[in-house]
Amino acid sequence: MAGSKIKKQKIEGMLLSLPALLLYSFIFIYPLITVFRLSLYKWNGIPSSPLQYVGLNNYMALLRDPRFLIALKNVGIFILSGVLLILPVSLFLATVIQSKSRGNRFLRTSYFMPQVISRTAIALMWYFLLYPEGGPVSTLFDALGLQHIDVNFLGNKTWAIYAITVINAWTYAGFNMLIFSAGITGIPQQVYEAAIVDGANSQQRLRYITIPLLKSSFQIFILNCIIGSITTFEMVYVTTGGGPGNASEVFGTLLYKNAFTYNNYGYSNAMGVFLIVTSFLASACLTSLFARSNKED
């Protein structure tokens, strides 16, 4: 009796798992395996044309591609902008929304709001903000006596990537603010009270209590920053498409363009494998690094 009940439960368990297992395997795992396999072939994307086995040639082409180096440099700029721009801003915003002042909810909402807007809408909004002939940024620069600066930063080879990182920071600061805010909530109030009794001012409390006790928030930030930068695509694609020229290219735009513009699907799949392996390794390495450092505490 008990045996048949367990057996029945097992069959029901399998039936319950089946839809998810099939869906996930079909949508996620099957394409994942296919990317690895197809990265060894040359293909122009036309279904009827044959695949040509080329071994690791696609990877060689990838590493020799000067645009790969540009993408590598731009991903580095993305990571740096995360640490130098998003980190301080979102930490600051977290302290603001934690201060429980009047209008707190309004501030919190306005800081986080960009996160829910579609990236294409954001790109279009910023395209108009930076419109060279009378856009608001150009109007502001005129008013400040900076007429000589061309505000079309997204169309400028040198500045495009930096302009994108600023738009990216505008989008993600509120999201990272919540990570730090959740970390601050986790610090017991008594620690601050004890510090106030001992005469610590607000800067000292930030320096000696808040920041050291936010270690895990910093780790989450760094992990998201690095993985997010490696795999960044939409933000660049919708603002500059990797241009002008190839100035703001990242790995994602190279993958996309090589497939759908240059019909070089082998290269794209090799880039796909590169992205999968790199982000997987980066998150595995960082997670174990953080785990080790937390154990030492």
């Binding site: 501030l107 709001m113 294409t120 759908f260």
Partner: protein, 275 residues
């Protein structure tokens, strides 16, 4: 509130400046959406002298932005429903170890969290082309459900694992089968967690670009992201309709955000801490 030192004033001034920085682009978009073409440029704050409803008429009939909003809603809602049902069933089996290999299943599902879905763009596009699934609602809904599966699974499993087993056992004694337990007992209790997972999936799909841009090519099927992206390349005699299109595509998601603010913010944090 304590006394106002210079440091404190600077601090709050900075807080307000950031508030301005985050809100201004939206403000500019909204005021411009009501202006005629001559009034949009060379100003930062000026309100429209008369309201130009024609921009919205053009956004609806020329850009067909409402159609795009509707499409985005269909994909989002559809993917949400599929994800919620599939994930709840799968998460219950894994959380209760009902079958062998649940440890493997868990890792197998969570593997998806570490992979950027667009890296698999080409096989997915090839698959969709081969089976004639482009420009169709159902295949896209299942694609989006699959892409969002790992994150929803991650958020929802945590909630289900926290539910006491005694409830299941009592139901088994009463003769309930596993399906009845999942949808009659677990589902109502885990609703807050399930809802968080669902709304995060909704947001992701509503704003998704890469797969929609490659798999939806007929105008009637396009989502807001694809439609807005197309606007950059199109020639318009006036900019007002473009601003109106942006406004109309972000209003629904803003309303959803304001209604479910705590869920969305909580879900964003939960999703970030997946390391």
């Amino acid at each position: 509130m304590g006394k106002w030192t210079i440091g404190k004033c600077v601090y709050w001034l900075l807080a307000l400046i950031f508030c301005f920085v985050f809100l201004y682009p939206v403000y500019f978009t909204i005021i411009s959406s009501f202006k005629n073409n001559n009034e949009i440029w060379n100003t930062m704050f000026a309100l429209p002298s008369s309201i130009e409803w024609g921009n919205y008429v053009s956004a609806i009939f020329d850009v067909q932005i409402l159609r795009a909003v509707l499409n985005s809603f269909v994909f989002s809602a559809g993917a949400c429903i599929v994800v919620v049902i599939f994930v709840t069933m799968a998460a219950y089996v894994v959380a209760r170890k009902l079958i062998r290999g649940t440890t493997f299943l868990r890792l197998y599902y969570l593997l998806g969290l570490m992979i950027p879905p667009y890296a698999m763009l080409i096989p997915v596009v090839t698959m969709f082309t081969e089976f004639g699934m482009r420009d169709k609602y159902l295949p896209m809904i299942f694609l989006y459900a699959g892409i969002n599966f790992p994150m929803s699974f991650y958020i929802i499993t945590g909630f289900i694992a926290g539910i006491s087993r005694e409830l299941d056992e009592a139901a088994i004694v009463d003769g309930a089968n596993t399906f009845q337990i999942v949808f009659g007992i677990i589902f109502p209790i885990a609703k807050p967690g399930i809802f968080t997972g669902a709304i995060m999936a909704f947001l992701t799909v509503y704003n998704e670009l890469v797969f929609a841009n490659t798999l939806l090519s007929t105008k009637a099927m396009k989502t807001i992201s694809v439609r807005l992206l197309g606007l950059q390349g199109e020639r318009f005699t006036s900019y007002g309709p473009m601003f109106a299109s942006i406004v109309m595509s972000i209003i629904p998601i803003m309303i959803i955000y304001l209604l479910f603010q705590e869920k969305i913010e909580g879900g964003a944090v939960a999703g970030a801490i997946k390391g």
